[in-house]
């Protein structure tokens, strides 16, 4: 099992995950929270895609003349689904933000707390 230096990529993605989490909790603007959520989800996708990587590997396309070790196609198929899930949640969240602004006139979480 490689130490933290061997998995520096994973460590970077965990840091990105936590930056996203920080933005969601600390920032008040709802759109900023949503960007933080996107950063967090993209970090998880990057982690899974990187786990499918192989040294000196090429894209998993086995056409004529393609040689060498191939990256594992399974994580790529998973993350294609993950990215579509992320954009669906983002589209819905943005519509809710537009509806919140239409109903309450503000998209700052602390002001909304009073409006309830």
């Amino acid at each position: 099992m490689a130490g933290l230096w061997g998995n520096i990529d994973y460590a970077a993605f965990v840091v990105l995950f936590c930056i996203g989490l920080y933005i969601i909790i600390a920032k008040q603007n709802l759109i900023k929270k949503l960007l933080g959520l996107n950063i967090m989800e993209t970090a998880v996708f990057a982690f899974i895609v990187t786990s499918g990587m192989v040294d000196g590997g090429t894209a998993p396309i086995v056409g004529a003349g393609a040689t060498g070790p191939f990256a594992s196609p399974l994580p790529h198929a998973l993350i294609l689904t993950g990215i579509v899930v992320a954009v669906s949640i983002t589209a819905l969240a943005l519509s809710l933000i537009i509806e919140i602004y239409r109903q309450c006139g503000t998209i700052e979480a602390d002001e909304l707390k009073g409006a309830e």
Binding site: I24, V44, I48, P75, T81, V85, L96, E99, E116
Partner: protein, 491 residues
């Protein structure tokens, strides 16, 4: 027919996608279409439940590919919850006919039924799949349609409640996906049975521990347990009534079923033992019972009160799982099913009252027993069963959990079980006293008429099911006994 299993999840999803296209010119068609598809699902899941009762768990390889390579759907005893999901969804669809015409803007009604069908297909898919990433995909389908259904009513704070629910759900989903990624990196496969097999030979302890803790935390957020319940009360109280019934009775149960799916994964893992996790779950469950019931006492709005009592009942189920004894886990699994019936009956009855009278708080609804006798009777039966009095369905689950607590030598938890029931009893006694014996505080209350037939029918049927669930409680216990022994034995 062996193909009921994939079709039970496949048909409602495709039907949900076709609803807007079919019902474009004819708005009335959407509800009829949804009822027909749900009736098909009831027929399919009933056939599957009968088969699992006779032959035990069975699998279906999607696309003809064997387990670790393709996606495997596996219908075991706990998947029988799909039958309860379909029955409650049919009654909710029947209830939402007249209710939705007034509570939801006209342009959104077709999309409302489309989202409900997608929600149904996602829930059935969630309880039958045996593939980790497929579990995540169906969970997201249920989640996205659930967030939108909370905000479809369009009230002043509906969008804000839905946004908070979305944020809590999306963060927990990202954490669950991260843990699925860790498990995939460790074992190279996504099939649950295969992962459990290969986890036994993993020697690095930290990733397995994180995967276990992360997925448990993620599913507990989705189940709305006490410390992470903040999103639940608003999301469950502000939405239209049929959606309250669906989310409080069914959506939170998916978090529990998710736990039941991942515990066997780590059962065989040598590097991590589940005992400390069960201990933590038992304590969290007990705290959640008392906290949920305690907060419910201070609510004036009856829908908010029912939402907090959901948190308390989720606490019962998690306490049952935490005790990890044969009796306790049987009680928890039974309570998952019975509480779905009870909470659906309570929310639909309360919703019918609010729909007819326009009042929401206990003070304003005084004397409604005289003008809406049948709905209030159904609420009375629901109240008796949620408190857990013997003839009703609520008694079974709590009785088994209390016995399990005593059997495990933890009388403190048995006291928590009874204490929670007592707190809820106090509130319901006050509520029923206000409905039956207090003079109405508004003159308009006397002019209120009984709910229309298509709303009253489901409410009364659910109340009857609550009583039948109590009288014929032996059958569900016998049905899930092998599943529980496999879980407790392997756990």
């Amino acid at each position: 027919m062996v193909h009921w299993l994939p079709l039970a999840a496949f048909v409602p999803l495709v039907a949900g996608a076709l609803t807007p296209a079919l019902a474009h010119g004819r708005p009335g068609l959407a509800r009829g279409w949804a009822l027909a598809v749900t009736a098909f699902c009831i027929f399919a899941t009933a056939a599957l439940t009968r088969r699992v009762a006779l032959e035990g768990p069975f699998s279906y390889a999607m696309g003809g590919w064997a387990a670790p390579w393709g996606i495997e759907l596996r219908f075991d005893e706990f998947s029988a919850a799909a039958l309860f999901i379909c029955v409650i969804m049919l009654l909710v669809l029947c209830f939402s006919g007249p209710y939705v015409r007034r509570a939801v803007p006209a342009a959104r009604i077709t999309w409302y039924y489309s989202l409900l069908l997608v929600n149904l297909g996602g829930m059935i898919g969630f309880v039958v799949t045996a593939d980790l990433f497929n579990l995540f995909v169906f969970m997201e389908l249920v989640a996205v349609s659930g967030y939108a259904l909370v905000a479809v009513g369009g009230g002043r704070t509906a969008a804000l409640a839905a946004f908070k629910y979305l944020m809590a759900g999306a963060v927990s989903s990202a954490l669950i996906l991260f843990c699925i990624g860790v498990l995939y990196a460790l074992t190279g496969s996504l099939n649950m049975a295969d992962v459990a097999l290969r986890l036994a030979t993993v020697e690095s302890r930290a990733p397995v521990l994180l995967a276990l803790a992360g997925m448990t935390a993620g599913f507990l957020v989705k189940a709305g347990l006490f410390p992470v319940h903040v999103w639940l009360p608003d999301a469950h109280a502000i939405a239209p009534t049929p959606i309250n019934a669906v989310s409080s009775a069914l959506l939170v149960k998916l978090g529990i079923i998710g736990l039941l799916r991942i515990f066997p994964l780590f059962g065989a893992a040598g590097v991590v033992s589940l005992a400390p996790l069960y201990e933590a779950l038992a304590w969290l469950g007990a705290i959640s019972i008392l906290a949920g019931a305690f907060f419910a006492l201070f609510q004036q709005d009856i829908k908010l009160m029912l939402a907090y009592s959901t948190i308390s009942n989720i606490g019962y189920i998690v306490l049952g799982l935490g005790l990890a004894g044969e009796l306790a886990v049987t009680g928890a699994s039974i309570h998952v099913l019975n509480h779905a019936l009870i909470k659906a009956a309570l929310f639909l009855a309360a919703g019918a009252m609010i729909h007819q009278s326009g009042y929401r708080t206990l003070h304003d609804l005084r004397g409604i027993g005289r003008v809406m006798p049948w709905t209030t009777l159904a609420l009375l039966v629901g109240a008796l069963s949620i408190v857990g009095l013997p003839p009703t369905a609520g008694f079974l689950g709590k009785w088994y959990i209390a016995l399990g607590a005593l059997e495990a030598g933890r009388p403190g938890f048995a006291v928590a079980v009874l204490g929670g029931a007592l707190l809820i009893f106090i509130y319901f006694a006050r509520m029923l006293n206000a409905f039956y014996f207090r003079a109405p505080s508004h003159e308009e209350m006397l002019a209120v008429r009984e709910a229309p037939a298509s709303m009253l029918g489901p409410v009364l049927l659910l109340a009857a099911l609550c009583v039948l669930g109590g009288l014929f409680g032996r059958w569900p216990v016998l049905l899930i006994a092998p599943g529980v022994s496999r879980l407790v034995g392997g756990g």
